[in-house]
Amino acid sequence: MIAVCKFGFFQGNHMNIQLKVNGKPVQLDVAPNTLLVQALRYNLNLTGTHVGCDTAQCGACTVMMNGRSVKSCNILAAQAEGADVTTIEGLADADGTLHPMQAAFKECHGLQCGFCTPGMVMSAVDLCQRHPKASEANIREQLEGNLCRCTGYQNIVKAVQQGAAAMKA
């Protein structure tokens, strides 16, 4: 059987996936080979999650799944069945108030072109949840999976330190 979905053209049965995205229940009709990042970008139009490579190296697609950061290019949508997914669109408060980590990135000039930023922020939030007292060296090491070509990382590291402090407060 051949089925057509919004994103692609697939052999095989489509799957009906239920999950929570940014706090709201979502049903997805996806092919078995649909990646989570494709489902987010093309089925749900959450285009804040970016694709910067095809080898799971750059981290621009990082989202939170069940409280941990994952590279959404490296996971099938089907694997997110029942999961609680947060994308960059869901991080700020409903009234638009930035999450402390988003605010710290702005305050510290931790972004330039903005393309790596959503993934970087999601990784940073996860990092600080796991290591609230991370040193500069820890932060630099933990951000290895997120590439940025603009900032030279210096202000990102500063932002993560400031964001970590604000998240504790």
Binding site: G8, G48, D54, K106, Q112, G114, L147
Partner: protein
């Protein structure tokens, strides 16, 4: 308004937080791939798997039958529709008076492919996956030819990339007085010689290139969305040179762009193919590069092989510099490729020094590799790397300090005419160096070295005193040197009736923060809050004209155009204010957002004047037009010349060859700084790109097959957060003398100044082991090999 008045305005020099950040931090940015148009189809390019081959046959019948396929375009379709090749924007004339060889650069291969990734066909289908599946069904039979990937093989004649240049030679170009240079060498007390390679790099902006071609039958208009740094230039090249379309029927929109670094300046084949096919299929067609496509087909950077000689007197004063460079241009001439190893390179070889004579000869070659063009710095990093390496080597040969030899040769009188065409307007090189030494605690170096050695490691210190020429100008001189474009910028300031302002600028922002810096300029001049000023860029349908963002030109050229428009706004507003306050125009003063009458307490706010301009009831209609909307074009009279000194300290483990950057200090003179936070961010990013080149990045093609060996982030080493320490950044300020802001470029300095600082530090550290030379990148393997070879 002049530069010193400008620098004293309120909020100039304040780190205003960026206006653009909220959308980027909440996922609301709109990059090209985020744009979804109705009726949108997807394109996939069939690319050459070979570095050099004749296309014997091509069969697209199976692909055409695949589900969802709308059409397939090949070279013959391009020829039938008389679509021209991509133009080169800079004509270089060879030393024998002949123009450079300019073979065609087709948008889809015309019978021959010339590099891995060259465009063979475009498949358009309803969905991306259908297009991908169909592309795999395109059958191409190739007759594989020998390939040349570096300049040595290009010279050797192993293969001819183009029939129009059978020896692969594009041009020979030279600058300087050879006879005088040779004479200086004959009389020199000492000559330092150096061979070096400036390694090929892949720009790797985090957003891969992307484009959407769109066509409207209603008005016969095309719209191209494209990740591009200069949409007006893209439109001009595409309409006038390639497709023969009327310019007013084409709109180019470069929405949010995820970094460029030069690689998104150029008109690429994909952009033309999508625009062309959009009309033929009456569909909107999207293409987004995979990262592997980006590695193969984005214009690469650098790739020079040079021999340099420096003549010195017995006191270490430079007498003359003689350089020969072979530049790899890749398979085709990209948009500004030919200017990079000539105009943008050789003219910088005087550096910060009083060297009276410089002679530079450049041979440029075609190879079976991706086209090479401007990448962050564009010629200036290559010049700085060569000069700063040979200067440090000369110091070591003469037993002088790296700082001492530089100080003995610094230019201290301005304006200064170099022997290679440029005239520096202003600078303070000795102060940059002493500040850097202070900031980097050079005084404590000996102690740190002892501590390093006690751990069994090596420590070295490296200096680099760079200069760069930014905001290439003026147009008439650039034209005489072969530029086929103007180099001005355009700015429009539109004051709305309620006093808020929209600024339209030709300077595209793709990370540089123009939406904030430019708003800061306007807000400071008009005395209104930054929030009340929005900056529009990246759309030929909204911005009057523009030459775009490259060569660290935006604030000094684009900002200057806005300053000129503001002068017109201010002048007209003063007339309106004079009328309202019943005073003479000449008695009106404007400061902090208020117009006042000299010597009285009469004043009215800017907002009232704005409203009056659009509600002209009490208004001198007989001599003044209503409205407050002004446009200016600004053509600079000279380049700006940012300069500085960078000092790098490294620790090396001789057992493993691992180089660790322990300290890095950058002191730059960017003239007047509008937003220090943004400027320092530019330095951080530039330094990491430069240190990336020196320490890890390297684009490698297989010498035999011409295959790209570093075609993904798994193979090409990108700098990561844990590769570098926190940098020390400092500033010296000598305001630029010839633009109304006093600013100089700051976008490329980091990438220009840092590679030689690092390599000099590595060589300083390795000197006790007998290592005299090393090419970038100083990877563990290379350093370890160098140590071993020196021992044996």
């Amino acid at each position: 308004m002049g530069a010193s008045d400008f620098a004293n305005l309120p909020h100039i020099g304040e780190s205003v937080r960026r206006k653009e950040d909220y959308r980027f931090l909440t996922g609301a940015g709109q990059y090209t791939d985020d744009v979804v148009l109705a009726n949108q189809a997807h394109a996939v390019f069939v690319r050459s798997p070979h570095a050099h081959a004749q296309i014997k046959s091509m069969d697209v019948s199976a692909a055409r039958q695949a589900p969802g396929v709308l059409d397939i375009f090949v070279g013959a379709d391009v020829a039938n529709d008389k679509i021209n090749g991509l133009p080169c924007g800079w004509l270089i004339t060879s030393t024998d008076g002949q123009p450079m060889k300019e073979p065609p650069h087709p948008i889809l291969a015309q019978g021959k492919v010339r590099y891995v990734g060259d465009h063979v066909a475009m498949v358009v289908a309803e969905t991306l996956e259908q297009a991908q599946n169909a592309a795999e069904l395109v059958q191409v039979e190739y007759d594989v030819l020998p390939a040349v990937v570096d300049v040595a093989d290009a010279k050797g004649g192993k293969a001819s990339v183009h029939a129009e240049a059978s020896d692969n030679h594009c041009y020979k170009w030279a600058i300087g007085d050879k006879a005088q240079v040779d004479q200086a060498f004959a009389q020199a007390a000492h000559v330092t010689r150096l061979d070096l390679v400036n390694n090929r790099l892949v720009p790797n902006a985090m957003e891969p290139r992307a484009a959407i071609g769109s066509y409207s039958r209603a008005n016969d208009e095309y719209t191209l969305y494209v990740a591009n740094q200069n949409p007006h230039v893209e439109r001009l090249l595409m309409t006038a040179f390639v497709m023969g379309l009327p310019e007013h029927k084409v709109r180019v929109i470069a929405p949010d762009v995820g970094g460029g670094f030069g690689s998104k300046i150029y008109l690429y084949a994909e952009d033309v193919c999508l625009t062309w096919a959009a009309k033929k299929l009456n569909r909107n067609i999207k293409w987004t590069a995979d990262r592997n496509e980006a590695f193969q087909s984005d214009a690469h950077g650098r790739d020079h092989v040079s021999h340099a000689e420096l003549a010195l007197d017995r006191n270490g004063k430079f007498l003359a510099l003689r350089v020969h460079t072979d530049a790899n241009l890749g398979a085709y001439l990209s948009t500004f490729a030919t200017a990079v190893p000539t105009i943008l390179y050789a003219t910088l070889l005087a550096g910060q020094y009083t060297t009276p004579q410089v002679y530079v000869e450049v041979d440029a070659w075609f190879t079976n590799t991706a086209p090479v063009d401007a990448y962050r710095g564009a010629g200036r990093p290559e010049a700085t790397y060569l000069l700063e390496r040979i200067v440090s080597r000369a110091a070591w040969e003469l037993g002088l300090g790296q700082d001492e030899i530089r100080q003995r040769n610094f230019i201290t009188q301005f304006p200064y005419q170099t022997p290679v065409a440029l005239q520096y307007d202003i600078g303070d090189y000795p102060t940059c160096m002493t500040q850097a030494q202070k900031l980097g605690d050079v005084a404590g170096y000996a102690q740190r070295k002892a501590a390093t050695e006690s751990k069994g490691l090596l420590r070295g210190i490296g200096y680099s005193s760079y200069i760069e020429a930014c905001g290439i100008a003026p147009s008439n001189i650039a034209g005489a040197l072969g530029a086929r474009a103007g180099l001005f910028e355009c700015g429009e300031v539109r004051v709305h009736p309620t006093g808020s302002v929209t600024v339209f600028t030709g300077s595209h922002s793709h990370g540089q923060g123009h939406e904030t810096t430019f708003a800061q300029v306007v807000a400071s001049r008009l005395g209104i809050p930054v929030e009340n000023v929005d900056v529009v860029h990246g759309d030929t349908g909204r911005v009057p004209f523009g030459m775009g963002t490259y060569g660290s030109r935006s604030i000094s050229v684009g900002g200057a155009a806005i300053m000129r428009a503001l002068d017109k706004i201010e002048s007209k507003a003063k007339k309106i204010a004079a009328h309202l306050m019943e005073a003479s125009d000449a008695d009106i003063e404007f400061a902090n957002g208020e117009f006042s009458v000299k010597g009285t307490d009469k004043k009215i706010p800017f907002g009232q004047v704005a409203l009056t301009a659009y509600v002209p009831h009490n208004y001198p209609l007989d001599k003044l037009e209503p409205g407050l909307n002004e446009t200016a074009f600004y053509d600079p009279t000279n380049f700006t010349f940012p300069a500085g000194t960078y000092i790098c300290e490294v620790e090396i483990d001789p057992q493993t060859g691992v180089v660790r950057v322990d300290r890095f200090t950058a002191v730059d003179d960017f003239g007047t700084i509008i937003n220090p936070m943004i400027v320092e961010g530019q330095v951080h990013g530039g330094v990491v790109q430069g240190l990336g080149q020196a320490l890890m990045e390297n684009c490698v093609y297989d010498k035999e097959s011409g295959q790209l060996l570093t075609g993904s982030f798994m193979d090409y080493a990108m700098p990561r957060a844990d590769d570098f320490p926190t940098f020390n950044i400092g500033h010296v300020c000598t305001p630029c003398t010839h633009n109304p802001l006093g600013t100089k470029g700051c976008g490329e300095a980091g990438a220009i100044g840092s590679p030689p600082a690092l390599m000099n530090a590595v060589l300083d550290a390795l000197a006790p082991l007998g290592v005299k030379d090393l090419d970038m990148p100083a990877s563990p393997n290379r350093v370890w090999q160098a140590i071993r070879s020196a021992r044996h």
